[in-house]
């Protein structure tokens, strides 16, 4: 049976994968969303639409190449591999959400800062960031929820070592349901943090999951 330290390892895997992929995703997405919101080109809309379409690619369409590449690079059943995959599958949603939030920041303020001679870097640090923090925070929460609960790639790309809670709890499915207490405890601990985060971000959830189509 699973010991306490085993459970702890799976919790750590979940935490590392969910938070790691979220921070990495934000790092890549914030500059992209910023430039699309404040310096749009003719192609910005098409780029956004295209990003969205990558999210609609069914995972089985790319399962085999990813699996084989991971096998060849030794990334199967590693946290690193899952962080990479999770970052990439959620990147379109992160860019989209940030874009819709950044769009709500009045451009006048940026103009004023520019008139006062603020450089691009100063503009970002002193003007944009404070105003963008609520949007970034809700994007962060939504993405942690999605990465924490993701159950296709985690089940297919991990075994014992790097399995996060989704995959670990799935392993309870083979013994016939006599482990109510253990299963209940593991499940409760796995969903409690997300329930709390979810409660705080339910409004943003609507916007994030509908790509801004319903607000």
């Amino acid at each position: 049976m699973q010991t306490r330290s085993d459970y702890g390892r799976h919790v750590m895997n979940s935490v590392v994968i969910a938070f790691g992929s979220t921070f990495l995703g934000l790092l890549i997405a914030i500059p992209a969303a910023w430039s699309m919101a404040f310096a749009p080109t003719k192609r910005t809309k098409d780029v956004l639409m295209w990003m969205l379409s990558t999210k609609m690619l069914p995972p089985v369409g790319v399962l085999l190449p990813i699996y084989l590449m991971f096998r060849d690079f030794g990334l199967l059943d590693t946290r690193t591999g899952l962080v990479v995959v999770m970052t990439l599958i959620n990147l379109p949603i992160i860019v989209w959400m940030l874009y819709t939030y950044f769009k709500e920041i009045p451009g006048d303020i940026l103009e004023a800062a520019r008139m006062d001679g603020a450089s691009l870097a100063k503009e970002i640090v002193y003007v944009l960031t404070p105003m963008a923090i609520p949007g970034i925070a809700s994007t962060l929460l939504l993405n942690i929820i999605m990465a924490w609960n993701e159950a296709f790639w985690t089940l297919n790309l991990t075994a014992a070592k790097a399995a996060p809670l989704t995959a670990f709890i799935a392993s309870y499915s083979s013994p016939e349901g006599l482990f109510w207490a253990k299963l209940s405890a593991a499940s409760t601990l796995a969903i409690a943090p997300i329930l709390i985060i979810g409660w705080f971000s339910q409004k943003q959830l609507v916007r994030g999951l509908t790509f801004g189509a319903v607000k």
Binding site: W34, P40, T41, M51, G61, W148, I169, S173
Partner: protein, 314 residues
């Protein structure tokens, strides 16, 4: 002043995201396309050869494919019907002010935050289990024969589980849309003597139309790829009774190691999803243009929004 300098910087800033996503999409997808025309089994390394469209004809004429396609459509359709009908009803209820609204709303939304493997296991072992399950206990205490849901009606059981997970999503979005409904419009209708039913049909439903479309399209995208719930509860069985296309491709790939056949199946899944995605993208794209809220900021130097112009004039 969006100078040349800023423009170049902007390009540079969006480059990493675009390049990464491009690689993520193009590289594996073209590899899948390539694999799909090969005879390629992981158990027989070095035997790869070009076989044209044999994998496709094999996959598409396989009886398993037909039942998987039927199951996929039933799963998507069933869950959508349940979540839309239930979601509209729940949203109407939650829109009324009542005591303890916050708690009730949290409870209604909660299933969406439960990870798929947990909800599938809880349903399998605690609710639907023929010996230990709650439903069996209720049936027995009523003097009825307990029913083995997952063995005798596997697909319907999975539809129930997945609908339970997605009902909160539909409710949440429909509730958000409902709250933006103009109260005066409802009051005016009431003054004209409209009852609940006619108000619902003529005012509420048309207002919800777009939100309902969004829910249908987005749920379709995600429901085409239902996987964990099937893996945990029935493993696609008995036979192929609860196998959907995603699960069929997974079984072909990682249980039978048939890379070529599974790749052909993956491409079929991509084509199916693209049909839905086409409509969804158009809907969202229209939305992006239509609303002033989304309009790009005017280039620097031009007078910006009318509100700020009004402010400076006063």
């Amino acid at each position: 002043m969006a100078t040349l300098h800023t423009r170049a910087a902007a390009r540079l800033m969006s480059a990493p995201a675009i390049i990464l996503l491009l690689c993520w999409m193009i590289v594996p997808l073209s590899m899948t396309l390539y694999f799909s025309v090969l005879r390629y089994n992981l158990l027989m390394p070095g035997m790869e050869e070009y076989i044209g469209f044999q994998n496709y004809s094999y996959f598409l004429t396989d009886p398993a494919f037909l039942s998987a396609l039927t199951n996929t459509l039933l799963l998507v359709g069933g869950v959508i019907v349940i979540t839309i009908v239930g979601g509209v009803a729940l949203a109407l209820l939650l829109d009324q002010p009542f005591f303890g609204q916050g708690i009730v709303r949290l409870l209604v939304i909660a299933p969406f935050f439960v990870m798929p493997t947990v909800s599938a296991l809880v349903w399998k072992n605690m609710l639907m289990h023929p010996v230990n399950g709650l439903f069996a206990w209720i049936a027995k205490s009523l003097g009825l024969q307990p029913y083995d849901f997952l063995a005798q009606a596997p697909l319907a059981s999975i539809i129930a589980i997945v609908a339970w997970q997605w009902l909160p999503f539909a409710t949440l979005i429909l509730l958000t849309a409902l709250q933006s409904l103009d109260e005066e419009q409802k009051e005016a209708a009431e003054m004209d003597g409209a009852g609940f039913v006619s108000k619902f049909i003529w005012i509420v439903l048309p207002h919800l139309a777009r939100a309902i479309t969004v829910v249908i399209l987005i749920e379709t995208i995600f429901l085409l790829s239902v996987f964990a719930e099937i893996l945990v509860t029935t493993n696609g069985g008995p036979g192929y009774a609860s196998t959907n296309i995603t699960y069929l491709v997974y079984a072909q790939a990682l249980l039978q190691f048939d890379v070529g056949g599974a790749s052909a199946g993956g491409i079929v899944a991509v084509v199916l999803a693209n049909i839905v995605a086409f409509f969804l993208i158009r809907l969202i794209g229209k939305n992006l243009e239509a609303e002033p809220w989304h309009a790009p900021f005017p280039p620097a130097g031009r007078p910006s929004s009318p509100s700020s112009a009004g402010r400076s004039a006063s």
